[in-house]
Symmetry: C2
Subunit: 305 residues, 2 copies
């Protein structure tokens, strides 16, 4: 799916939220973990299958509310090959429910290796005369420290798929590198211009290109500025909720029609059951409630047309 399709889903659901699927095993309710330990012992397989059941519940509940999900690769890789298998199944299942799926992998490399990452997450490979797809997500986050050699292999798939390039991340120490003055502008501004240019050939019906940017909710002034200087770059905005970003902070990520951005929440939705002080058997309801609350908050600031 292209970024236009994501924008359409956002408008249909009146909700510019992407729900992070970033489960550490301890975020999974105890009854699910216990059942899998029973089945597979205290193994990475049990941990991975626990995350899988958790994800299925979340996807089933959230697919009515949010347009997109964002599994973070690290939380699957930490469970080894079994975890990566759950990443694959999670992507497939979320797509089957009509969700737009962004793999948050922040992948980066050059030439043939960047090509392999692009083939892995967005494209396909040829093997003995057949075409095979490894993960086949809709979008992937990437890091452009290596320059355009590291981005071009991904944009090959940006006719239909999307990438989101790290521009200004949500963490405190983002400033150490990203705010260094590079000539007359901070580095993140330079990166933003490059992203805007990389996307020039991939602009869809809402005026946004399939080469998006990651810009943190925790830097609201920069968010507003970047919205102005990157009119065709769609923003993936982390940092809402747990990291401190508020609905007021993210207002500037959107254009006048209330388009052009999607706001991530991971723990705020996923771990909502833990705030209820119960046994987690209603984790889906808790997640849906949290997602509905976030939707209302965002709609108070973003007038989607």
């Amino acid at each position: 799916m292209s970024i236009s399709r994501l924008q359409k889903l956002i408008l249909e659901k009146r909700n510019p939220t992407v729900a992070g699927l970033d489960a550490r095993p301890e975020y999974v309710p105890p009854h699910i973990r216990a059942a899998n330990v029973e089945k597979y012992g205290r193994t990475l397989k049990a941990a991975a299958e626990s995350v899988w059941e958790f994800n299925v519940g979340l996807i089933d509940g959230l697919s009515e509310i949010v347009p997109a999900v964002k599994p973070q690769a690290a939380y699957y890789e930490v469970l080894g090959p079994d975890g990566v298998d759950v990443l694959k199944r999670t992507i497939d299942y979320a797509k089957s429910k009509g969700l737009y799926v962004i793999v948050d992998g922040k992948r980066n490399d050059i030439g043939a290796t960047a090509t392999a990452y692009a083939e892995a997450y967005l494209g396909m490979i040829e093997f003995e005369g057949v075409t095979l797809r490894a993960f086949d997500a809709d979008g992937l986050t990437v890091n452009a420290y290596l320059g355009s050699d590291g981005i071009k292999p991904f944009t090959k798939y940006c006719g239909e798929k999307s990438i989101f390039v790290l521009v200004k991340t949500s963490n405190k120490s983002a400033i150490e590198i990203q705010d260094m003055m590079a000539g007359d502008r901070p580095l993140y501004r330079v990166m933003a211009s490059r992203v805007e240019n990389w996307g020039a050939d991939f602009v869809g019906e809402y005026g946004y290109s399939n080469v998006g940017a990651v810009v943190g909710a925790t830097y609201p002034d920069e968010l507003k500025l970047l919205r102005k200087v990157c009119p065709r770059t769609f923003f993936l905005v982390p940092g809402y909720g747990a990291q401190g970003g508020t609905a007021a902070d993210i207002e500037g990520a959107f254009d006048r029609e209330g388009r052009g951005a999607v706001i991530n929440s991971s723990r705020g939705i996923m771990c909502a059951w833990q705030k209820k002080n119960d046994d987690g058997r209603n984790f889906v309801e808790a997640a849906c409630e949290a997602a509905m609350k976030m939707k209302r908050e965002l709609n108070a600031y973003v007038m989607m047309q």
Copy 2:
């Protein structure tokens, strides 16, 4: 294993080479692919198991010659969960043969997510009271565009394990971002200083720290300069061979004792059988020959003490 252990292995084998294990299925000799297609059909499983057999042969042959191997994560991820399973088995097998194993993943994120990557590749997680390890390599390449929040979770493991931070990559467009003037110095110089500082608490017996840097062989002047300004930073040097770097180019990566760097070759060793115009049944011999040739070339320029 720490960077000191890698340096020791280099001195023992008189060879500062790390062999890349970056097999695309088409690099695997046809008889291996055919046998796996017979067994598993034209599937990602067949492709992955072909790469596994290829890696086992390479590791068996090369473990007498080189001190280290570097599987590039992208080439395993492109084969899906089966490929990632082969990555895990490759790491384990190479370690069992006494090799130092660097996963080239260029991972990067912040806080809890960076912690998950660190736990995945260098550390362990706790699950239901037991300690489990996902990939457990000796080293991992990382990208520091997110600043020190993105590095600290990895250095937690740098008492025993190592990371290699991208400083100056080997590709042509590396200059687009990395050579921007950040104040009075290009960005890669700033990054190099940060790396040198991040490593301060992790210096081992040869005077090198477990926080290393990736510096491309294709920029010999920068390599020489960085060797001077980063006296305790061990260099992982890509770009030798296929990308154009020569033995003369990498001389500057080493200190006066001929220490402090390891030079990567991937296709030059792995794909040596393809240059012989034969059927690939002798791919191990071809790889070993290429590795011996590289060892001789490096020894002509690097006087290891």
